[in-house]
Amino acid sequence: MLKFTVKRVLSAIPVLLVILILVFSLMRMIPGNPMYSLQADSNMTEEELIMMQEKYGLNGSIFEQFFRYLKNIVKGDWGTSFFNGKPVFENIFSRMEPTILITVFATLISLLLGVPIGIYAATHHNSKLDYILSSTSMIFTIVPSFCFGVGLLYLFAFKLKWFPLSSYEYIEKGGFWNSIWHIFLPSLAIGLSGMAGYARHTRSQMLDVLNSDYIRTARAKGLSDRKVYYRHALRNVMSFLITMVSGTITVNLGGATVLEKVFNIQGVGLLSYSSLFGKDYPQEQAILIFFAVIFVFTNILLDIVYKLLDPRVQLD
């Protein structure tokens, strides 16, 4: 297990390097230059501008810039934000709490609603409720999460006032449940979109498993339907769901970015949004690397869970 984890972490390094190159060049392909806005604000002279460029590492060719950036990273220096001058990871860490909470909570909502619906639909295959659930889940898949977000915001926060209209309160300030209360609506919006996918995939996977020979054996043993479904079938569906969760987490991180904008929550997503449009190169690069690292580590974790569920999987 330890050997596997170390191997996976090491193999993630080249992946992260490629992501770094991509992000670095993509950021610089976007028209505009961060210096222009600085220059426009103050009446800087040509010399001052060159000094600024040197200060932010924007002088020289793009290759020089990249290798300088890489060299600093190796030294542990990821750069400072163009805007507030703080180290980029300090900005990320101070704002990651709502983003992580939204992502995790949205994934939980998708799982806890989608999987039981899928199981019900599969075990009551072709019943009326199966049709209703299948067609309703289609609607949830089609409508994007930010549309739900706006709808939920209007209904539950603006009209009914059950939830706060905007902003986020840190756990440190108001406790865990207070924070959950603040991120409940955006998480629900993302979770509902994801739920439909889980319901549909659980249903089809469950139907597949229920047709397998070992389920027939379990029935021939005399096990009740309940035991056949929840002990013998569900366990086989679960390993498939694990694979799905890793995809959902990436999608939900992206969804959190959009919904932080809708709900005006000061998380990493919103930071990424403003850094992108403000051309805060080091900040945006660090955020995307941060997301990539989260993704790599959740995948390693899920692989280990997968191994625990399915004895046939060999990690090494």
């Binding site: 054996t217 021939a220 005399g222 096990l223 009740s224 004895p311 046939r312």
Partner: protein, 325 residues
């Protein structure tokens, strides 16, 4: 006469589809006696497996629609509430299947899958069930049973897995064991071992076996009586020695001619044509289109099962006048 334990009476079965509902089984009648081995033989698509699955009510209804009676110790299984049926499955009637590679749940330890039966039907606790499971693995001649019980199905070979299936099926000393092509997927040498084991355990446990196979060679080795099926009908039934000495139905002749003789270098014969698909079974004698003795009568009329004495019945007009009583 010995005691009947299973008696199938006028069993008819359809698969209801959206556009048609082909009849798969037509008036199946046969009995299984205590402690005997009854073979059910025929080509693929003849309704052998469907017959066996309907005994344990393992077919989904719908689409399957069953009419008739399946009496087990005088009780019609088709009338039982599901809960009671589950009490019989794996306990009084057990089943082993053709595909040992896929018949065990890949995510549970072999021992656990065996323990489940004991805990379910005998109400044993975990420790007792574990002990019993290991005993059963030992009974089916699996070496190092304690260790094997802790392994997962993917760690066992096909023959081993089929032994586990047999152990599972015989755990509660069932009165009837339904074996649906239990050796078809195995190597020939493993086949012989598994058949041998089944025979030994049958003697030890006094279980009656309904043995389904397409291989008459296997029937000759393990069965007492045999039922030959074709297109969802019984075409011939007899004691095994009688059948091999005096095969009567042209289909049985056909099946026997496909058996290899040791030492012979001749090409094996085949039965011309194929089993028609369900729903396209002939209306007269079902075998007429493939039969070299077929005449007009066979195509127009359906022969009955004629009793030609010595427990031997044949569904063929050639034997109409040889019927006893």
């Amino acid at each position: 006469m010995e005691e009947k334990i299973l008696s199938i009476k006028d069993l008819n079965l359809w698969f209801d589809g959206d556009y048609s509902s082909p009849q798969i089984l037509k008036n199946i009648n046969f009995d299984v006696y205590k402690g005997e081995t009854l073979g059910i033989a025929g080509e693929s698509g003849c309704g052998k497996s469907v017959t066996s699955l309907s005994v344990l009510r393992l077919l989904k209804t719908p689409p399957a629609r069953i009419k008739g009676e399946i009496e087990f110790n005088g009780q019609n299984l088709l009338d039982l509430p599901m809960k009671e049926m589950q009490g019989i499955r794996g306990n009084k009637i057990a089943m082993i299947f053709q595909e040992p590679m896929t018949s065990l749940n890949p995510l549970f330890k072999v021992g656990y899958q065996l323990e489940e039966v004991f805990r379910l039907h005998q109400g044993l606790d975990k420790e007792e069930a574990k002990k019993k499971a290991i005993e059963m693995l030992d009974a089916v001649r699996i070496p190092l049973p304690e260790q094997r019980a802790k392994e997962y199905p993917f760690q066992l070979s096909g023959g081993m897995r089929q032994r586990v299936m047999i152990a599972m099926a015989l755990s509660c000393r069932p009165e009837l064991l339904i074996a649906d092509e239990p050796t078809t997927a195995l190597d020939v040498t493993i086949q012989a071992q598994v058949l041998d084991l089944m025979k030994k355990l049958q003697k030890e446990f006094g279980t009656a076996i309904m043995f389904i196979t397409h291989d008459l060679g296997v029937i000759r080795e393990v069965c007492d009586r045999v039922v030959i099926m074709y297109c969802g009908e019984i075409v011939e039934t007899a004691k095994v020695e009688e059948l091999f000495k005096n095969p009567s139905h042209p289909y049985t002749h056909g099946l026997l001619s496909t058996l290899p003789h040791s030492g012979s270098r001749e090409r094996l014969e085949t039965i011309p044509g194929m089993v028609p698909p369900a729903g396209k079974f002939p209306s007269g004698c079902v075998f007429a289109p493939r039969c070299k003795h077929a005449c007009d009568k066979c195509i127009k009329n359906k022969p009955e099962l004629y009793d030609i004495g010595n427990g031997h019945s044949v569904r063929c007009f050639l034997f109409e006048d040889k019927e006893v009583n």
